[in-house]
């Protein structure tokens, strides 16, 4: 079980309201990612669910029961911190077993559960080491192990991969996704990295300044962003967004076109520009085009390799059905 309902929750620090009234339901077993730029309130929201931060008003329901005033450890949730937050004076074994010891579980059962968690996380050889003797990835595994042993109704992850290097991050991303597939437990995952959000989530919650901009599956957000913010935030490289006469032609205040939805030609096309930088990735080529008269720079993504160089004249043609239109308020026009 692990259905979490946020009912008109708000949070203020002094006079500053960081989260205006917010409603959200996280279904049992769902992998939900909170994503947004730093300072958007995603971590605060997670900490409110965890019970580490008091609500200014509103209620949090976990499995139908009001948990607003319930202390963190009694909510049945486990949290993995960005800094890992391991107990430096305890061995890996003690770290993982700590929550069970606090529950006054018998030593035999603690040992059994710790062994099982260590096995599933490839930590068996490290059980008697202290966190200081482990690498970043191993520490993060220990932190996850400490969460798993409690058999929580939901896992809360607060930017758990941002202290790892890029290669390790991809590996851990997969491990966490696999863990979710296997356990089918509710997971709430906070990140500022939209790639993590897109690759891991069942459902993404895009936040900005404490307000939910859109909730949806990764592909919903990609294909049908509800507003300019979501359009610009989801997708890599970023969507090209511009206003002006070109947008008006499409009957919108602002339009957006993703780099991968623009065709390129050296001889003819809708928009003319000059090549700034071409980034050759092998599988793809990113071309940054200037002097189109639409925006400072338009990025296009070509599958495979294309030979262009700085200063070349280039023609771009947006795929008409892939143009996103937004009104003056920045909301999507269907």
């Amino acid at each position: 079980m692990g259905r979490i309902v946020l009912d008109k929750v708000t949070k203020s620090f002094g006079e500053t309201q960081v989260i205006p009234p917010l409603d959200l339901t996280i279904e049992n077993g769902e992998f939900t990612v909170f994503v947004g730029p730093s300072g958007c309130g995603k971590s605060t929201l997670l900490r409110m669910i965890a019970g580490l931060e008091d609500l200014t008003s509103g209620n949090i329901l976990i499995d139908g029961e009001d948990a607003t005033e319930v202390p963190p450890s009694k909510r049945g949730l486990a949290m993995v911190f960005q800094s890992y937050a391991l107990y430096p004076h305890m061995t890996v074994r003690k770290n993982i077993g700590f929550p069970l010891r606090m529950e006054k579980m018998s030593q035999a059962e603690i040992d059994e559960r710790v062994e099982a968690a260590a096995k599933s996380l490839n930590l068996v050889d490290y059980l008697d080491r202290k966190p200081g003797q482990l690498s970043g990835g191993q520490r993060q595994r220990v932190a996850i192990g400490r969460a798993i042993v409690r058999d929580p109704s939901a896992f809360l992850f607060d930017e758990p991969l941002s202290n790892l290097d890029a290669a390790l991050r991809v590996g851990m991303r997969l491990e966490i996704s696999e863990m979710h597939e296997r356990m089918q437990t509710t997971m709430i995952y906070v990140t500022h990295d939209q790639v993590e959000a897109m690759t891991m989530a069942d459902r993404i919650v895009v936040l900005q300044a404490g307000v939910i901009e859109q909730v949806g599956t990764p592909l919903e957000l990609y294909h049908k962003p509800q507003n300019v913010f979501v359009a610009g935030f989801i997708g890599s490289p970023k969507m090209n967004i511009f206003s002006g006469p070109e947008a008006e032609k499409h009957g919108a205040a602002t339009i957006g076109i993703r780099p991968e939805h623009t065709d390129v030609s050296m001889s003819e096309g809708t928009w003319k520009g000059t090549v700034g930088v071409a980034e050759h990735l092998g599988s793809d080529t990113f071309i940054h085009v200037h002097n189109t008269g639409l925006a400072d720079m338009i990025t296009v993504r070509i599958s495979g390799d294309i030979s262009v160089k700085h200063g070349d004249t280039i023609y771009l043609t947006p795929q008409a059905e892939q143009i996103h239109k937004f009104d003056a308020q920045g909301l999507r026009i269907e």
């Binding site: 580490l52 450890s73 949730l77 949290m79 911190f81 800094s83 937050a85 107990y87 430096p88 606090m102």
Partner: protein, 277 residues
């Protein structure tokens, strides 16, 4: 090149020499005190016997036989140990609360505590004496322990607060998620992590309590009198008996110097604490 060679030469020879010179300068009064304690009162004032004299244990024997050194020493131990324990008992939770659950007033409270150290002790001397006599606590252990604890609390809380601040908040929060109550947080997480800091705070408080003279001399007569009072008592009206006074002083500072010597490592470790991340 020449400059580099010169500076490294200073590093090899100059620095140790300078360090030794400063060290000896600071150590000299103590050395002199210890030396004088082995002279008779008569020899102690004669310049010709400055370094060369016939050593005697007379002063020490005199001290234990006639002045009841052990009673004063016992009182010193009782009051310094009890005051240290009591100070920690109050300051650990206080510093914990301020470090991990700060309110808007925390900074002001810390400043206010520090400001109490700026109050001249003499300003409250008579109120304290009248109060102590009024409630019948004059010359008792309870009074001395209370006073020593109170004057050391601000320092202890400040020190511990600084150490506790070094502990990442995440670790305390992880503890909260793992089901630790407040006392458990202190016992299971805070104390093991800040052990060095707590030990050096305890040591420092103990040294301050042991050395405290202003209040212990003025608030005691016999029953709760500490070694400070014994030294003070040997400042006889008919003149200073340097030999005797030195012996008493040596015996008074001895224990704490030895303690400090053995705890050097712990003290340094405590003062450079901060590697828990």
């Amino acid at each position: 090149m020449a400059i580099v060679a010169q500076s490294s030469k200073f590093g090899t020879y100059g620095r140790p020499v300078l360090a030794w010179a400063v060290g000896l300068l600071f150590f000299f009064p103590i050395f002199w005190m210890v030396l004088t304690s082995f002279k008779t009162d008569a020899d102690a004032v004669k310049p010709e016997f400055l370094f060369f004299f016939t050593p005697t244990l007379e002063n020490y024997l005199n001290m234990t036989e006639n002045y009841d050194y052990w009673r004063f020493a016992r009182n010193s131990v009782i009051s310094a140990v009890s005051a240290t324990v009591f100070t920690l008992f109050v300051s650990v939770p206080a510093a914990y609360a301020m470090a991990f659950n700060p309110s808007r007033a925390t900074k002001d409270v810390l400043m206010w505590m520090l400001s109490t150290k700026m109050l001249p002790a003499a300003a409250v001397l008579y109120p304290m004496i009248f109060l102590a006599k009024g409630i019948g606590l004059y010359d008792t252990h309870i009074l001395i322990i209370t006073v020593l604890s109170l004057i050391n609390l601000p320092i202890a809380i400040w020190m511990l607060f600084t150490y506790f601040k070094e502990i990442p908040k995440d670790i305390i929060e992880a503890g909260k998620m793992d089901g630790v109550n407040t006392w458990g947080e202190i016992k299971e997480i805070l104390i093991p992590l800040a052990w060095g800091g707590i030990a050096s705070t305890a040591l420092l408080v103990f040294i301050f309590c042991w050395n405290e003279a202003y209040w212990t001399v003025r608030l005691t007569t016999i029953d709760a009198a500490t070694l400070s009072k014994l030294i003070e008592g040997n400042r006889a009206p008919e003149g200073l008996f340097f030999g005797r006074l030195s012996a008493v002083s040596t015996a008074a500072v001895g224990p704490v110097v030895v303690l400090g010597w053995f705890c050097q490592k712990q003290l340094v470790q405590g003062l450079t604490f901060g590697a828990v991340k």
